[in-house]
């Protein structure tokens, strides 16, 4: 298990390095120039956040159906990593927005605001998990929240179609995509690299969750009689003292 985790970490680091080289080697964009290179990390961050919250939903549903702790651990780990990628998407979007749009943030923009709300709702999901010590209650309540919170993912994705605000619509949309091949390749390479990073982080977080649960079990053990009625209290010479 640890060896496969190590191999995954190495693969993720190598993929990120390849992704960086492909982003540097991409051509400059006609109107944005080099600022378009930020898209090679911004777009995969947002996609991985959606995938992560999708697996939180799947983990929650599976826990409710099977009641196996590993599904709850998957949901929790994926939510934490999803919050991480959402933060990256927000930060890189703001860094790109300042030189291109002239502003870090637009309070009236549907995509930005819905992403920010999604970010804080999943922070709330993580806070809920920390507030409930009982594992079964925690798993049930967070599974329900994980399922309900996922409603935001399609809302965030389609917010650019539902509301015509500052953020542009989907530019990478299947075979009719208007993006040049020179931009699609580094975007897909970085998407694959970020997916490996997501897998490495989530597996690592799940292993941590397993050890935390094991330690909780050990610390929660009461001072039980190890042999029950099989052992009687030694009389320590009381028979002689009575005589």
């Amino acid at each position: 298990m640890r060896r496969s985790g190590f191999a995954l970490n190495i693969a993720a680091v190598a993929a990120i390095a390849i992704g960086f080289v492909s982003a540097v080697g991409a051509p400059s964009e006609q109107t944005q120039g080099d600022f378009a290179r930020i898209m090679f990390v911004h777009v995969p961050s947002a996609w991985l956040a959606f995938l992560a919250f999708g697996l939180t939903l799947a983990g929650g549903v599976m826990w409710l159906m099977r009641k196996q702790e590993r599904w709850d651990r998957l949901a929790a780990a994926s939510a934490e990593v999803g919050v991480f990628f959402t933060a990256l998407a927000l930060l890189t979007g703001m860094i790109w927005g300042y030189p291109v749009w002239g502003t870090f943030w637009d309070w009236g923009d549907a995509r930005m605001m819905s992403t920010a709300v999604m970010f804080f709702v999943y922070i709330g999901y993580l806070a809920l998990r920390r507030s409930i010590p009982d594992r079964a209650i925690r798993a049930r309540r967070s599974a329900i929240l994980g399922i309900v919170a996922f409603v935001q993912v399609p809302l965030v994705y389609f917010s650019v179609n539902l509301f015509r605000t500052l953020h542009q619509g989907a530019t990478f949309a299947g075979p009719d995509s208007p993006i040049d091949e020179g931009f699609v390749r580094p975007l897909l390479i970085n998407l694959a690299a970020f997916t490996l990073v997501y897998a490495a982080f989530t597996m690592s977080r799940m292993r941590i969750g397993t050890i935390e649960d094991e330690l909780d079990d050990v610390e929660a053990l009461p001072d039980l009689e190890l042999a029950g009625s099989g052992v009687t209290e030694p009389n320590l010479g009381r028979d002689f003292a009575d005589e």
Binding site: N9, I16, F20, A23, G33, D34, F35, R37, I38, V41, H42, S45, F84, A87, L88, L91, T92, I95, W96, Y98, P99, V197, A200, F201, S204, R205, R207, I208, I211, E212, E214, L215, V218
Partner: protein
């Protein structure tokens, strides 16, 4: 063309990844030590 913003964006992304990865590694190691002791 100001490339500083592009460099900053990549530093933020890779810096956060390295930081979170290091946090996970350190936390896992300390928990393993606690379990073994």
């Amino acid at each position: 063309m100001n490339e500083g913003w592009v460099v900053f964006a990549y530093v933020v992304v890779y810096g956060f990844m390295a930081g979170y990865g290091a946090y996970l590694a350190v936390r896992a190691r300390s928990l393993r030590r606690r379990r073994e002791s």
